[in-house]
């Protein structure tokens, strides 16, 4: 019985991530100097799943993402990657533990991601469309 109680405590003892409300229109952004006018959703899937480490123009690319559990992150995973949060986690678990790649670094806000993309020609990220300004270039919009 004690073994079972300990087991149940472990099962519920990990962090639970609250699911936030659905985000609005989302923009995939790159640095204006990246030389990329647009990207297909297939290109973006490859980049964010680590299958491609360069833009179609052969320039090196580094994807960055919002933190797990946020509304915009859930929207991106579903609308672009066509995966649930747990499927994305399982995918990266497969990649990480075979040394074949690691997930994109995560950041807390649109402002942080926009600032990083604006100052790094190789970075690609996603933010709310309403947060877009002239410091970044939109390559795809998603509802």
């Amino acid at each position: 019985m004690r073994k079972l109680a300990l087991y149940c405590a472990m099962a519920i003892g990990f962090n639970l991530h609250a699911t936030a409300a659905h985000a609005g229109e989302m923009a995939i952004i790159v640095n204006p100097a990246a030389g990329v006018d647009s990207l297909s959703s297939d290109d973006i899937i490859r980049i964010f799943l680590g299958k491609s480490t360069s833009f179609p123009n052969e320039m090196s690319v580094t994807p960055i993402a919002h933190k797990e559990g946020t509304a915009i992150r859930n929207q991106f995973d579903s609308a672009i990657l066509h995966k649930s949060a747990s499927q994305v986690k399982a995918y990266w678990a497969q990649q990480v533990f075979t040394g074949r790649g690691s997930p994109p670094d995560e950041y807390a806000s649109d402002e942080e991601i926009k600032k990083l993309v604006a100052s790094n020609p190789s970075m690609i990220g996603y933010i709310e469309s309403s947060a877009v300004d002239s410091t970044v270039k939109v390559v795809l919009k998603v509802n």
């Binding site: 490859r46 747990s86 399982a90 533990f97």
Partner: protein, 426 residues
């Protein structure tokens, strides 16, 4: 070098560890807390064929236990630059008495965006889930079907993967070469392979269809403690025959050397060829998935014979729950020479015609029969996501071991296994 660590405070390890990035070192880890019990204690009694027999499953028993399949690991990846990194993984499992060992240690080098070399001690990429077999979180079952997944080991060597895509189709071609030595505590045996060469091809269409095919060849040596001294086995067989016939002890000892020389030839497990072929197809949607994987093993060895196994599985996501069902089948075929020996030994009149050949045939085919297994199973399971990093699983597996050769009774029968697991990654 091995360090003994107790896995008892697993939850402490999980609660305090977190993804940390110091300099260019990334730490990750996983935990699998797996417990289960069998409906019937395994019974495999050759001497009492009329006794109700029940097959075994891993080392589970009638009492609930966590030891057979619980495990955990810590992995560090140190990046040198954009092309090179080194990976080290320390792993411990209940099956190995929770002794921590360096399971993987390899250098990854990516000269181009398409090519990846891994050199060192890596997970042998034999099956679809081989690369992350121990990462329970990465798949739906408590463990992949044991009828197919008979091989979980690290191999020392070199691995090369070329990845590319054409439109929606992602594909890869992989080759690896190396060898390994592994102790199998459950059966008190050492396995050594060398000159392993394998090729793997994968294709993925739009992320929803994944195909894989592998061919593998190796030279293996199997050293079982039970076969270390065949003279003891021959002595036991002769003593049993003397008792059965009412002969004085030692009456048949003159046959010993002749029988032993034949048994030594048949039970020679040094440097024999092993060939694998594997194929898998997986269809995955956000809501549902279906998958099948098939493997065949061919050897030229008297004791090993050949093996074919496959599974068919599918599941449907309902919110955070994923119920799934799996059918498996495992068929072993004895080597033709072992089949002939079994038939020869079944005719007791042959003991008077050529007693040396008769006893050798009986002993050799008896050992070969213990290597084979024919088993079906059906598993009903449920995976539930408690968070994006943890999953709880429940599984009920009904399995039946059938006779591999006519008249086999030991361990033949049915059993039921219940398992539950908490898988976490961090």
């Amino acid at each position: 070098m091995r360090t003994r660590l107790k896995l008892i405070p697993l939850y402490l390890l999980a609660a305090t560890a977190q993804i940390a990035q110091a300099d260019d070192i990334k730490w990750n880890g996983y935990l699998n807390v797996v417990g289960g019990f069998l409906r019937y204690d395994p019974v495999s009694d050759l001497t009492l064929p009329e006794k109700k027999q029940h097959p075994d499953y891993s080392t589970y028993e009638k009492n609930f236990t966590f030891d057979p399949e619980s495990s955990g690991a810590l992995q560090a990846v140190k990046k040198f630059d954009s092309k090179a990194s080194v990976t080290a993984q320390v792993y411990a499992s209940g099956a190995n008495d929770y002794q921590a060992q360096l399971k993987w240690l390899y250098l990854t080098y990516k000269p181009t965006s398409h090519s990846t070399f891994r050199i060192g001690k890596i997970g042998a990429p034999v099956y679809y889930f081989s690369d992350f077999y121990n990462v329970g979180y990465a798949y739906n079952w408590v463990t992949p079907p044991i009828e197919v997944y008979t091989f979980d080991t690290a191999i020392s060597g070199i691995d090369y993967i070329y990845r590319d895509y054409v439109g929606d189709l992602d594909w890869s071609a992989e080759v690896f070469s190396g060898g390994y030595t592994q102790r199998l505590p459950a059966i008190n045996a050492n396995v050594t392979t060398r000159n392993t060469v394998a090729a793997i091809f994968t294709a993925s269409e739009g992320g929803w269809l994944n195909l894989r095919a592998m061919i593998y060849q190796s030279t293996g040596t199997f050293e079982a403690d039970a076969l270390a001294d065949t003279g003891v086995i021959v002595d036991s067989a002769l003593a049993a025959a003397e008792e059965q016939q009412g002969y004085p002890s030692g009456t048949l000892s003159f046959l010993h050397d002749g029988i032993k020389s034949q048994v030594d030839v048949a039970t020679d497990l040094n440097e024999f060829k092993i060939r694998y072929a594997e194929a898998a197809a997986r269809v995955e949607h956000e809501r549902w998935f279906a998958m099948t994987e098939w493997v065949t093993i061919r050897t030229d060895n008297y004791l090993y014979g050949n093996l074919d196994a496959f599974y068919l599985t599918g599941g449907y996501r309902i919110g955070k729950a994923l119920p799934h069902i799996t059918f498996t089948r495992l068929d072993s075929d004895m080597h033709d020479d072992a089949v002939a020996d079994a038939a020869y030994a079944a005719n007791t009149a042959n003991a008077l015609v050529d007693p040396t050949k008769y006893f050798a045939a009986a002993i050799d085919s008896g050992i070969a029969q213990s290597f084979g297994k024919t088993q079906n199973s059906i598993t009903l399971g449920l995976r539930y996501e408690t968070s994006a990093s943890t999953a709880v699983k429940f599984e009920l597996t009904g399995f039946e071991e059938k006779a591999t050769y006519p008249g086999e009774t030991a361990g033949i029968g049915k059993n039921l296994l219940f398992r539950t697991a908490v898988n976490a990654i961090f």
